[in-house]
């Protein structure tokens, strides 16, 4: 028997709902609230049972429109590159500061997506981020912590 990906996702959703229900029972409510008609556990309990019921229904009932995904035409490599580079960006933004990390993130994103027009890649990364920062600092008065620019003495 072959089970469709939609049904596997539903099964995963059932497990998620079950874990959510388990976590719901871990919520510690005040003793005077324990037998109240409504406490901090009540709504999550309803949601968990609803999730388990719906996902089981999807698994059990015959599928009307099974999703067809042609994995051959999907570009997993570029997508994965972008996710990785965005994660690295998240890691370095606090250390390297907004300007440097964002400019590098943009430059490498263009590169990984196949862009090779170096001038445009440069213009739309370093000067673009500088302009964006100027708009934030100068016009909207939003402070961005930036150790790199602080080291260079550009911002205070």
């Amino acid at each position: 028997m072959r089970i469709s990906t939609d049904k596997i996702i539903s099964l995963l959703f059932f497990i998620l709902s079950a874990l959510y229900l388990y976590q719901t029972y871990q919520i510690r409510v005040f003793s005077f609230d324990e037998n109240a008609p409504f406490n901090a556990k009540t709504f999550p309990t309803f949601i968990a049972y609803l999730g388990m019921f719906l996902s089981m229904l999807y698994v059990v009932l015959p599928e009307r429109i099974p999703s067809k995904v042609d994995h051959k035409v999907l570009d997993y490599k570029s997508t994965l590159f972008l996710i990785v580079i965005a994660t690295i960006y998240g890691f370095i933004i606090l250390r390297a500061g907004f300007f440097l990390s964002t400019s590098i993130f943009l430059f490498f994103s263009y590169y990984f997506l196949g862009e090779r027009r170096w001038i445009w890649m440069f213009v739309l990364s370093f000067p673009f981020v500088a302009l964006f920062m100027f708009l934030l600092h100068g016009l909207l008065d939003i402070y961005l912590r930036d150790p790199f620019l602080k080291m260079l003495g550009i911002i205070g």
Partner: protein, 497 residues
């Protein structure tokens, strides 16, 4: 009401707010034009910027973005047969054939005039309907609100899921689960935080919207980049032709506009319906109204076939503001995003908004008129230039969308936990989208989660833990009956197929 209109005009006509409407219309048009990016993405990208403004100004900007994005979606439908938003799919049926006949300029002009007329007429309806409904909705109690919100979630799942009701309902559940993360509003007990301090205040609404729409859209575009069916067609801007309409075309357009406006507005008011359903219904209705000769032209470049869905989708946009402004309950994913933004401003939309914050209530309505005028003035002459956006290479476009998404979140919290959480949610959302799990019900449920819990809490406390509150009051019983009917209809449809 006159006093309210004057307050609204005074606020909406300030130089700053006019500039905001112009900016909103312009950026909304550009974002809406890009295939795959709709009003929700456009508004989501604007939210972090609006937090620096006064609530009225922020909302005016977002309303401009909304209209601009819907109009922008029509442009890509007409020029390259790639609707930017689902609400403009029906526009492509006759708009694209017109463009192929060398009448792209005329098609764009018809779309612009029809959008303007549809939006303006329905804004007049909104002007009268909203205050009246606000007064009626003062009679609403917690059980009624609870039942209405459940109806809204069911309706959005039924209408936005393209026959995948169960998948949409699972997304509703997931949205509600995400909404329960953080401190319980009444007891302050933390839930589902796993002792992580960053989750104590719950997951930010902007983060969820950015992740499920802006970032996930960008990842989906890259993921499906090799798909030949999604290849973007190139357009020649020199082939746009004249934008002047002849008398016959004007007459045909004028016949379609009134009926499609009324239909669009009424559909827009219904929870869960909105621009997509309105445009398809208007297209079908128009086909039934015209004579046999005109009927044959449908799908081949009919003026009626283009004017009707364009009028209806804009009318539905105004209509969808009625439940948002009067009941505080969004009827669509886009208005759910706007509700989230309003809550971020510390404003609770609902019947009392009309009394407590009249300047917001009226300025949004008045800015709709102004937005429509600006959209027409700005877009019609600028279309040949704005259309160049369609030629933006995705190698530049996608990283820039990611940049605006990540920066938007970073500017709100200045910590990288939110960035990682956003990436995580975006990856899951992209995977779910691939298998046709709709995101709009998730957003609506996430926004309404807190309100649903609050109203359920009050209702259960009043009825001492009994669910009889669902049928004790006639109004609650009617609304709850509507939900049961909708679910039954979906089950019946499932078994029939």
């Amino acid at each position: 009401m006159i006093e309210g209109i004057l307050i609204g005009l005074q606020t909406a006509l300030s130089l700053k707010n006019i500039l905001m409407v112009m900016m909103g219309c312009f950026f909304g048009t550009i974002i809406g034009m890009l295939p795959g990016l709709g009003p929700m993405t456009a508004i989501a990208l604007m939210i972090p910027i609006t937090y620096g403004f006064e609530p009225a100004t922020g909302l005016i900007l977002m309303a401009g973005v909304y209209y601009g994005a819907v109009f922008g979606g029509s442009t890509s439908s007409i020029l390259i047969n790639a609707p930017g938003v689902p609400g403009t799919v029906a526009t492509a049926f006759d708009g694209y054939p017109m463009a192929q006949q060398g009448k792209a300029g005329k098609a764009l002009a018809i779309a612009a005039y029809s959008s303007f007329a549809g939006g303006t007429i329905s804004a007049i309806f909104l002007l009268f309907a909203a205050p009246s409904l606000s007064k009626v909705s003062l009679a609403f109690r917690s059980p009624d609100y609870f039942a209405l919100m459940v109806l809204g979630l069911t309706a959005v799942s039924a209408f936005s899921s393209k026959g995948q009701f169960l998948k949409a309902m699972m997304m509703v559940t997931l949205g509600l689960m995400l909404a329960t993360v953080g401190q319980d509003s009444l007891s302050d007990i933390t839930r589902f935080t796993f002792n992580n301090m960053n989750l104590t205040d719950g997951i930010s609404f902007v983060l969820v919207v950015m992740a499920t729409f802006a970032m996930s859209e960008a990842l989906t575009i890259i993921l499906k980049g090799k798909d030949p069916s999604r290849a973007t067609k190139q357009i020649s801007l020199s082939q746009l032709g004249s934008i002047k309409l002849d008398k016959d075309e004007r007459n045909k357009m004028l016949k379609s506009i009134p009926r499609s406006s009324v239909l669009g507005f009424l559909i827009g008011v219904l929870p869960g319906a909105g621009a997509t359903i309105a445009s398809f219904l208007a297209y079908g209705m128009e086909r039934n109204y015209v004579n046999e000769d005109e009927k044959k032209k449908f799908g081949k470049g009919s003026v009626h076939g283009l004017a009707a869905p364009e009028t209806a989708n804009n009318a539905a946009c105004s209509g969808s503001f009625v439940p948002l402004l009067t009941l505080g309950i969004p009827g669509s994913g886009t208005t759910a995003v706007m509700l989230g933004a309003l809550l971020g401003f510390g404003i609770q939309p609902g019947p009392r908004l009309y009394m407590t914050n009249p300047e917001i209530f009226w300025s949004v309505i008045m800015s709709m008129y102004i937005g429509m005028v600006i959209l027409l003035i700005l877009n019609l002459p600028l279309i040949p230039y704005i259309a160049r956006v369609l030629a933006t290479p995705k190698n530049f476009l996608i990283p820039l969308i990611l940049f605006f998404s990540v920066t938007g979140i970073y500017l709100m919290s200045f910590n990288n936990f939110d960035i990682f959480l956003m990436i995580g949610i975006a990856v899951v959302a992209t995977f779910l989208r691939l298998y046709n799990f709709p995101m709009a019900p998730l957003i609506l449920a996430f926004v309404l989660g807190g309100l649903i819990e609050e109203n359920l809490r009050r209702s259960l406390l009043i009825s001492d833990g009994s669910f009889s509150f669902l049928w004790d009051r006639p109004l609650t019983a009617i609304i709850f009956g509507g939900t049961i009917l909708l679910i039954t209809w979906q089950i019946y449809k499932g078994f029939k197929k």
